[in-house]
Point group: C2
Chain length 327, copies 2
């Protein structure tokens, strides 16, 4: 039997090249080898977008378009919306009894987010409990593998603690532990070179960016501020043009360009023009496929995906409630 | 249109005379005047019985028997099990984003329970969030009226705060405020006279107690420890036999007995024998009706009740999600 993967995104912004390099590419490659569930985590997004649900709704549509445009096959991978799988919140509520408030507050990701968001004292209950909700997302699909960033490791640990508590309490092997798989690729940096590409920082190239916007972004990329004349030697470390060429251009040719740049005689404008062409060639077919995805397609994909996700999650909930004698 | 009442019980123990006096009696009287939903709050019970789910299951059956035996008509009142209404946990999750952790910890009932239970630092997330879950129970049925004890007032306040936040955020009159209605009757005390009747304190007379157990309990009731000889005057204040006669016996006759007792010449044994007869006469038909309720009856009642409750709660969830543009 195929191993099961649970992966997905918060519908809190457009997907960008960082998502492609970090996860979308892998999802496409792995979808035939593994049974893949892709969760559009709108309930989780609501924990901090609760005052902007209409954005979440738009982003759900946008996510589905991005998935299809990048090569996710909805007949192979199950794409579904979190709030449409009613087993998830009820599993969350059962699990909430197995996790202490102190434990969830010690979760480094929650802790860090709390500090970053500066809403410490005003933090809402939904946000504090989101690692538990995430555990339900994973366990409802019997996921063997959860591809995550290294910063998400504590979430997987929390999930596996719940597995232990549940199995111990209800004397049954109801759940199995899941395994975090960390991406091979380093994070894609933003065009400013300051932080990883992120929609909220405005330094990312979205999969849905137009040619015009792509051009603007590539030509505003951070390179080597000391590289003033073409004939001067340039630095490639921290130079975003090379960072993106590494991710999207031919390896051998990139190496040659790097040597040339370091020696001097290769101008930023030439390089940026090249990178623009490379990314344009990469994004244009995605844009075209994106354009062809109609609202009817999206509705159909989610209808089917939600149905399949509900069947699986309902069967797991049933197994879970049976072990608790709640059937 | 009939006003809607939401009432119910945690399936955490057998119902007793205190429940009868405090709520069951009213439910029976009001069930034709109001549209009544009776929730068997097993998810809520799980917040502190998570390690004993089989007890909860038994108690669900026992509750249904008690309801029917006391005169609740399942064709008129909707009796349902909380975990079987999937709209409730999802509403809870939406509401959890609208309530800060600080707010929920300030809830006097939660605060008090935390202190009573001495599990402060180890309190689980389910317990902390139970006022939010309770708000979902109320709002999922558009309840106008929630009969509660005075100590539950903060729960209703929390519910109405959520109504305000939700309606404010999503610009719609999705929810209306509910009204707490406090019982007219004073709480029934336990047979020890020390605290109100409570299953966990072992000082309550259960609706399902046998004649033998009833006799033992009545004859061990706390009266006036200074009333040693029949001819001595006795105290009726704090005397549990009079407390129970007040609740279950003829008012005029009880007044006469009280005067006689205070004057002297009326023995405890005579009074206890009378109270036993009164309670035996009250409980015997309940016991008989209880005995006639089969497991098939219970299953049928809950099947119908869950169905009706799901229809109502689903329609409210739909209205709610529409206002959030999540439909």
């Amino acid at each position: 039997m195929k191993k099961i993967i649970l992966t997905g995104d918060r519908p809190s912004g457009a997907l960008h090249l960082g998502h492609y390099v970090g996860s979308l590419k892998n999802r496409v490659q792995m979808q035939n080898e593994f049974q893949t569930y892709i969760i559009i985590a709108n309930l989780q997004a609501m924990t901090d977008y609760f005052d902007r649900p209409e954005q979440i709704r738009e982003n759900i549509n946008s996510l589905v378009k991005d998935y299809i445009a990048c090569g996710i096959d909805p007949n192979v991978s199950t794409i579904f919306v979190q709030s449409k799988v009613k087993a998830l919140p009820i599993m969350t509520m059962y699990f909430m009894n197995l996790v202490s408030l102190a434990r969830v507050r010690r979760n480094p990701t929650v802790k860090e987010e709390l500090e970053r968001k500066e809403f410490k004292n005003n933090v809402n209950c939904g946000f504090v409990c989101y690692p538990i909700s995430q555990a339900a997302d994973i366990l409802a699909f019997d996921a063997d593998i959860v591809p995550v960033g290294k910063d998400q490791k504590p979430m997987i640990e929390q999930t596996n603690e719940i597995v232990d508590s549940f199995n111990f309490l209800y004397k049954d092997d109801v759940f199995k532990k899941c395994k975090a798989v960390f991406g091979q690729t380093a994070k894609l940096m933003g065009i400013d070179g300051k932080a990883k590409a992120s929609k909220s920082l405005g330094n990312a190239i979205s999969l849905s960016d137009t040619e015009e916007i792509l051009k603007q972004k590539v030509f505003s990329m951070y390179t080597d501020p000391m590289h003033l004349k073409v004939q001067d030697p340039g630095r490639v470390e921290g130079n975003m043009v090379f960072h993106y060429l590494d991710a999207f251009y031919d390896e051998v040719k990139t190496r040659e360009l790097r040597e040339h740049y370091e020696k001097g005689g290769l101008g930023d404008m030439v390089l940026k023009k090249l990178l623009f062409d490379v990314l344009q060639e990469f994004l244009e077919p995605i844009r075209q496929k994106r354009k062809n995805v109609t609202q009817d397609d999206i509705d159909g994909i989610l209808f089917q995906g939600n149905k399949r996700a509900n069947e699986k999650a309902d069967s797991v909930l049933e197994r879970m409630e049976r072990s608790m004698k709640f059937d």
